[in-house]
Symmetry: C2
Subunit: 478 residues, 2 copies
Amino acid sequence: MGKEEFVKEITNIEEDFAKWYTDVVRKAELADYTDTKGCIAIRPYGYAIWENIQNYADRKFKEVGVTNLYMPVLIPESLLQKEKDHVEGFAPEVAWVTIGGGEDLEERLCIRPTSETMMSTMYSKWVRSWRDLPILGNQWCNVLRWEKETRPFLRSREFLWQEGHTVHETAEEARERTLMMLDIYAEIIEDLLAIPVLKGRKTKKEQFAGAEETYTVESLMHDGRALQAGTSHYFGQNFTKPFEIKFQNREGKEEYAYQTSWGISTRLIGAVIMAHGDNRGLKLPPKVAPIQAVLIPIAMHKEGVLEKTTEIYNKLNKKFRMKFDDRDNCSPGFKFNDWEMRGVPVRIEIGPKDLEAGNAVLVRRDTGEKEIVSLDNLENRLEELMNDIQVAMYKECQKRREEKTTIAYTLEEIIKNLEENQGYVKTMWCGNVECENKIKEVTGAHSRCIPFSQEHLSDTCPVCGKKADTMVVWGRQY
Amino acid sequence: MGKEEFVKEITNIEEDFAKWYTDVVRKAELADYTDTKGCIAIRPYGYAIWENIQNYADRKFKEVGVTNLYMPVLIPESLLQKEKDHVEGFAPEVAWVTIGGGEDLEERLCIRPTSETMMSTMYSKWVRSWRDLPILGNQWCNVLRWEKETRPFLRSREFLWQEGHTVHETAEEARERTLMMLDIYAEIIEDLLAIPVLKGRKTKKEQFAGAEETYTVESLMHDGRALQAGTSHYFGQNFTKPFEIKFQNREGKEEYAYQTSWGISTRLIGAVIMAHGDNRGLKLPPKVAPIQAVLIPIAMHKEGVLEKTTEIYNKLNKKFRMKFDDRDNCSPGFKFNDWEMRGVPVRIEIGPKDLEAGNAVLVRRDTGEKEIVSLDNLENRLEELMNDIQVAMYKECQKRREEKTTIAYTLEEIIKNLEENQGYVKTMWCGNVECENKIKEVTGAHSRCIPFSQEHLSDTCPVCGKKADTMVVWGRQY
């Protein structure tokens, strides 16, 4: 099996982005298809990206008082049905367990597509007084949604995520929490994954089933399609009423509480691949890369090379997530391609001549730039490079996003802009769902959000021509 | 709702251990029952214990080369059936998904009871050459087994665990890995959870379905019942043959690989509760306790008390997992009981007089011992106490285990010893499953294991009287 062909086997990114994507996912050993239709196996290299996201996010969550817990994966049908919009939104895409322990169940159980119903049921038992509030629960778990079209990480029947569910004394506090968690999502995606986000509120049409308000962080991929990277929902009392999450308030009166939920998922792995990748394969930002630098000894058989490079590796490995590639069955050239394809931010080459001169060669994955560094300065320079690459990758994404963001004043312009450029299209909007539907119908683009940063582009809606106060961003999505 | 009654509401541990256990689980807010029969909600305080176990174990695993990955929760029936013993062992207790996305499925899917079949299927795709080996995969996930009798943490239909699955070039390497992971389990349970383990091999009868050899770490609970705390299995080629995990060996020949699997679960939370708890409730070893010390300001309303104690808390909180209890709706006495019930290892009381004298009062949860410490020395003394308590709790468990370990030479003695003392009963054994069955039938005790530390107690099997070379430990189990 010729690993040598790996890099060549990746489809050109400009020719067929979808195929490029699945090629990278498989060749870089991020994930693989399984015998369970629509479900993937996340391989160690892909899972390590998820672990880095988890560690970062979990620390941020805990800093703002969130505690982890765990609820059953199976939800009785009667619970799912308690909130009308919610069941309408999710019931068509759940999987049902009908047999357990060899017997038909009296009541079928769904595998959680999300856990509002289960969380709300339990919270209603745990909340009595304002002193029990807020509850700031979160779980890291698997969920299942019976998607028809699936794609690794982006839209898989089963995926991993965190779902935070909080309950509060006041609407104001719950709203604050909704936006606080959205800000943390923005930080994760921008700081850790080096992808700029567009923050805003979803239109009513694009809201979460059962939410009063849904907020989103949207990201733009290499091909100009949009990806919803994380959402945070304000429920008001939509769930606390049917699930009876009541508490005695500070005045001694019984009151329904206010609720939020928020989630990010393994879809973010897909975002990293699609936002940064290129024709050489994966390109990972140093902060989230499972391997930050690979050290490749050159002419390994020459005396002292392996010993010296191992020593250097051991030292660097204390500070960075390192890989030492001493495979003896492939050439340095193959190794260069292989680790580039796997998106490792920096390659370090050290051979006998380098050792003699007291140098190492560093090569950046993002720009391909090569530099010679003295071994004494290797650690410091590597640290600088990690920061530089992280920043440069963010800026590159930002630049692409700017290039792919256009303004449209008419429906024709929306169509034209998307055809030419994909990307985000900004327009004014009258607020009417019929105009939103019309745009989706003729362009295939969904409203991404009503951005927090509003601009006044014109006075009228591009569809109906009526008065419009709101700017919306549109885009075709994954 | 009178939280004041919490401690009083716990059943006496000597009167009804099972009820004491569920009382502690619920009053200490470790877990709660849910509307999904046989499945619990793990509450934040219980989940934090699991997170501490996970962090410790995951670090140990990674030190020995293990990488995490994630496989689908749903397994097609045809995969489950590929290994005969395995399907016989697990098929009766699985839950089946028969409907997905509103349609009847062509092939039903089970929720994983364990993932040997899925892992083996994927590994067979990933392994080609000896260079691809070993594969050292592990996943932290939920599994489901349709138990008839359930008990929180100990035997829940759904539980959380890690399942490691490794594939090797040689039988020897696989066997080494099996025991290496068992050693790590022993370390987790002894060092982190302060519970001594009995290490050994399971008899054929008690082996994992499909294993060639099963190794176990067994622990003894407060009431003298045994709990299987972790198992590690050597599969030989039992799965690699039906699942075709083949590789080209160093001689260029195709060969079936050798396999292991190993797991620990949220059952360990049950072990901590039942091994250490007492009539005051939960008693947690400092290393695994979510809250290592609680600071309770006394006479909070007095000038300077809150400010000073907050300052002390903030300092300690950098080094220990601390809780500051400044609730104004309950008395110090209530707080003392409450945190004792929740098993916090050390309580720190500081009031106006203590502040004047520059002192704090420390109270150990395990012994109830009180001491006065100067504030200057508080941090150091607290650190010492954590170590002392960890060691003392281990020793107490060890002492109880010694008291509850007996030797028996006849079937009558086995019965008598178990009746009087529960605990571990050591006997010789001829190796015949009929004698093992007999002991189980008349005593209700399972063979716990054939301990690695063998003793020669006599020459004969207590059941059949024939020649016996092997010492077995028996005990009634959870």
